[in-house]
Structures are given as structure tokens and as C-alpha cells.
Amino acid sequence: MNAQADTATQAGEGEYNFAYLDEQTKRMIRRAILKAIAVPGYQVPFASREMPMPYGWGTGGVQVTASILGRDDVLKVIDQGSDDTTNAVSIRAFFEKTAQVATTTRTDEATIIQTRHRIPEKALKEDQIIVYQVPIPEPLRFLEPRETETRKMHALAEYGLMHVKLYEDIARHGHIATTYAYPVKVDGRYVMDPSPTPKFDNPKMHEMDALQLFGAGREKRIYAIPPHTAVESLDFEDYPFEIQKFDRPCAICGAENVYLDEVVLDDRGGRMFVCSDTDHCEERRAAGHTGEAGGIPLKGEETAR
């Protein structure tokens, strides 16, 4: 690729470089990504750029995606597991407009998946990359607000504080109550915040076939988990790590051992639990699986969250 070939011009709307960012910025971000891959779990600072969307809308993930996107890529964007939420729709539209890449909602068709909360239920493959939008990359921030100190802790692998946080959870709730942004140790070295994915998805990060990239726009950090890397969720010997358990299958497709969202059905308190991964649910229904709610359509419903 060269800069000339990547320039996409849109009549009447001025010029966009391919995927919005200029080539120099993309090269800078790619260097940060390469460094992040070389040191799994280590937060690499990068010069985060202003994006035409507010912080909190995934500007870090968008910059990472923009820097790795090629013309032949097929992009999937999810938020809370769904392709249809405002955030997912607007990021997908952004890349359709600035890079004219193909987009999909199908996990197995995508070459790049940008996500805010979930990892798809279907195991990702070697030729896929998952890009996480991260609001707060620093797992030690909770107890140590000083950046100079947290850097030192990472450099010296002083991670006792992470267990202080888990200790507090058990002392207060009788169990480790952290359900999102559950800290992990990557490749036996760096402690990393997979924020804000639910801990249900932590085991999927372990030895994943796909490359995992994390971008935090406001905090100007990129980190990565290369394929086939050990990712261990922190815990205590007598309080081992556990994922969320759901005591029922998806009401629509009958899937078990998947992450479920509570869906409000009506104003009278009716509700049911359905797959948070909408693509997974639809694919199962297409294959003939049904749950207790049978063929109730998903469209037009609101999630409880």
C-alpha cells in the first residue's frame, strides 16, 4: 500500500484519506501496535488523534482499526454483543464511508471485529483480529492514582495491589464480585485490564487463535495479546476465578453456556434472557434451534441495560 493509492475522495465532502487517518498517523499507530504485540499486555503510549466522534465512543479502537484496515477486509462492529446498537452502527457507518470496506454482522465472515463489551461466542480464528475499545486501560488505577507509581509497578511486576482489590471484593461481598474489567496476567508477566468485557469472556482470551488489540483513545494507550498467548485471570487459592453462570438457556435459540442479557418484553414486568451475541443467536435460529420463547423476533426490543 502507498499513501496515493489509499486516498479516497468523496465528492462534495472534501477529501478523506483511506479510513480517515493520514498515513503518517497510521504508521505511528502501527509501530505502537507492533511494540504492543512484542510485549504482550504492556501498555504502549501513542499519540492519540482527535476523531470525529466523542471520547467514550471508542476512539481508541477506531484508531487501531483504521490503522490495520485494508481494502479487502470485512469489518464487524459490536457493542454489548450486538451489531445494532447506536455505537456499533455509527462506527460501522464511519468505516463504510471513509474506507468503503465491506461490513458484516457475521462473526465468521469478518476479518476484523471491533468490540466494546463482548467477545463473540464463536471461537475466533487465526486470520481474524479483534479490536477492543478500552475506556480505562490501567488496572492499578483503582488503588494507585499516581501514573509514575503504576508505571514502576508494571516495570517491576509488583502486582500485589491487584489482589488487594480482589481481597476487598471478598471481604465485602463474600466472593469476588468484580464481573467486568476482571484483571488478567498476560504471558505470565504483565497484568492487564480487559475492560470492559464481562469476566465471562476472560477464558476466551486465553490461547486465542486470533490477534487481540486494545485501544484506549482518551488515555492514549495500545496493548495487545498475540495469538496463542496464556491469559490468566487473577484469583486466590481458596476463591478461584469463576465465570458468570446462567441458570437457563437463551429463550430464543436455546443456547447454553453463552452470555445472556435480560430483555424487557413489555411494561408489565415481562422479561426474558437471551444471547447477548445477536449474531450467534440468529445463526442458531437459522439452523433451526429454538428456545422457550420460540420464534419471537429480536428487532424492536430494548435491552434492560
Binding site: 488503588l143 514502576k152 517491576l156 509488583e158 500485589g160 495491589l161 489482589h163 488487594v164 481481597y167 476487598e168 471478598i170 471481604a171 465485602r172 486466590f236 487459592e237 481458596d238 476463591y239
Partner: protein, 264 residues
């Protein structure tokens, strides 16, 4: 406090010609002494005498301008503290050393429970059994006379005296050999001070701790220390066994200090 350490033992810490300047201004100058295992050394002086600068240099919180501080590591080797790697130095500080601050908020994590405050050092050195950590924390809370029912409260809910006692427990949980103290009773009510001093005295002798304590309060020095160094304008002007210095001060300035305390 009496009972001197054995004279034939090797020193635990040695400061040689330790000097810290702040530009032209002198923090402390040319301080040389040895501290023996089980010994409590009080560094006394008025505000601005250099005693806190000296404490910070000894505890590696501040780099000296000149001079050497050596410490006998647990393996018996004498090491120049400012030539340790940062990892070695930080490990030393959270295992073999303690530091009790005047203001508890500087030495405690105010937003986490008393139990986690005590347990933090254990977790830092790899303890991964919640039940064991909690058991040790309970034991230490009772040793510093904090009711076990307070284990899940944060120090924000504690009185000043309790906070200092919690700070002490947090430091002692890894069985350090040397504890630095910076005016540990400063700002507390007299009756609270007395109780804290009693507790400290008991712990120091039970555990055979070596202590370097900075205080402006000669009564604290009298009660806790074996030996004293009197500082003025950054220099040590008198040093000796505590009882001797307080009962028979040699330097005119020490005589003045002692007489003014007697008037209080």
C-alpha cells in the same frame, strides 16, 4: 529504655559521612553512625534541624548528595543501599523494613479496609490464600489492640490513635528487622500518645526490632530509645546513650533542649 545490644554483633545499618544539600542549603551534613540489631535510635532536634532529611536519606526515600548508607541484608551481606537495583530496594522496603509516617494517610490506603491494609504486604510477596491473609490480618489487629470486628472498616472510620496502630500492624506483618518512624505520636492527644508509646515499646522489645525514630519530643526518645543523636543545623551535635544524654547533656544546645523540656 535500657538493655543494650550485644557489642560483638555486626551492625545492621551504617551511615558514613552522609550529606544532603538542597542547593546551597544544608539538609544534613557529615552524619556517621552505626545501628545494631535490636537497637532503637532516636534522632531528635527542632524543626529544621535536618532530622527528617536524614531519615529520608537513611530509608532511601531521598538520595544523599554525598556519603554512603549500608545495610545488612537478610543473607548477611552488607550492601550500599543506593547501589541496589530499584527492584531490590523496593522489595527491601516492603519486606525487611517498615516506615511509620506521622500522618497515617501517608502510610495507609484510606479507601480500603483495615484487613486489606494489613494484608497488602503479604499479597505483594505472593501470598494467595484469602483465608490465611485474613487470619494473619486478624492476628495483627489484635496485637495492635484494634477490635477484630473492625477488620472490614476503612481507616477513615478510625480515630487518630487507631490509624497509627493500624499503620504499625501494616508494617510489621512481614516481620521487618528495621522500622523507620517519623514523629509517630505527633498530633495525637497526650493520653492517646501514651497508649501508643506503650504499645510500640512492647512490640519493639517482643520482636527485637531495630528502630530509627525521628522526634522533637524528648519524652518519646526517653521512653523508646536506647541511644540518641541530637541534631542542629543539619549536623549531629551530640550522640550517646539516651539516659546519659538526657541526664547529663554535654553540648550547650542539648542542655538547652533538655532544660526546656523539663520546664514543660
Amino acid at each position: 529504655m535500657s538493655a543494650k545490644p550485644l557489642p560483638d554483633e555486626e551492625p545492621l545499618l551504617r551511615a558514613s559521612a552522609l550529606t544532603r544539600l538542597y542547593g546551597e542549603r544544608i539538609g544534613c551534613r557529615d552524619v556517621t553512625f552505626e545501628l545494631y540489631p535490636g537497637e532503637v535510635l532516636a534522632i531528635v532536634g527542632e524543626s529544621g534541624s535536618g532530622k527528617t532529611t536524614l531519615l529520608d536519606c537513611l530509608s532511601t526515600r531521598l538520595a544523599p548528595t554525598a556519603g554512603i548508607v549500608e545495610y545488612r541484608m537478610r543473607d548477611g551481606t552488607m550492601r550500599d543501599l543506593f547501589r541496589l537495583t530499584e527492584a531490590e530496594r523496593r522489595l527491601l522496603m516492603r519486606t525487611d523494613w517498615g516506615f511509620v509516617h506521622q500522618h497515617a494517610a501517608d502510610g495507609l490506603r484510606m479507601s480500603v479496609s483495615a484487613g486489606a491494609n494489613v494484608g497488602e504486604r503479604l499479597m505483594a510477596v505472593g501470598e494467595r490464600h484469602y483465608g490465611d491473609i485474613r487470619g494473619t490480618a486478624l492476628d495483627w489487629l489484635s496485637r495492635v489492640e484494634i477490635d477484630e470486628s473492625r477488620i472490614d472498616d476503612t481507616p477513615r472510620a478510625f480515630s487518630g490513635g487507631m490509624r497509627q496502630r493500624l499503620q504499625i500492624a501494616r508494617n510489621l506483618v512481614t516481620n521487618p528487622r528495621l522500622v523507620f518512624m517519623d514523629e509517630p505520636t505527633g498530633g495525637l492527644d497526650v493520653s492517646v500518645q501514651a497508649r501508643l508509646l506503650d504499645l510500640l515499646r512492647g512490640l519493639v522489645s517482643d520482636l527485637g526490632l531495630s528502630v530509627i525514630i525521628v522526634t522533637h519530643d524528648l519524652a518519646v526518645a526517653r521512653l523508646l530509645s536506647h541511644r540518641m543523636m541530637v541534631m542542629r543545623h543539619g549536623k549531629v551535635i551530640e550522640t550517646g546513650l539516651t539516659d546519659r544524654v538526657l541526664d547529663d547533656p554535654q553540648a550547650p544546645y542539648t542542655q538547652l533542649l533538655v532544660s526546656s523540656i523539663l520546664q514543660v
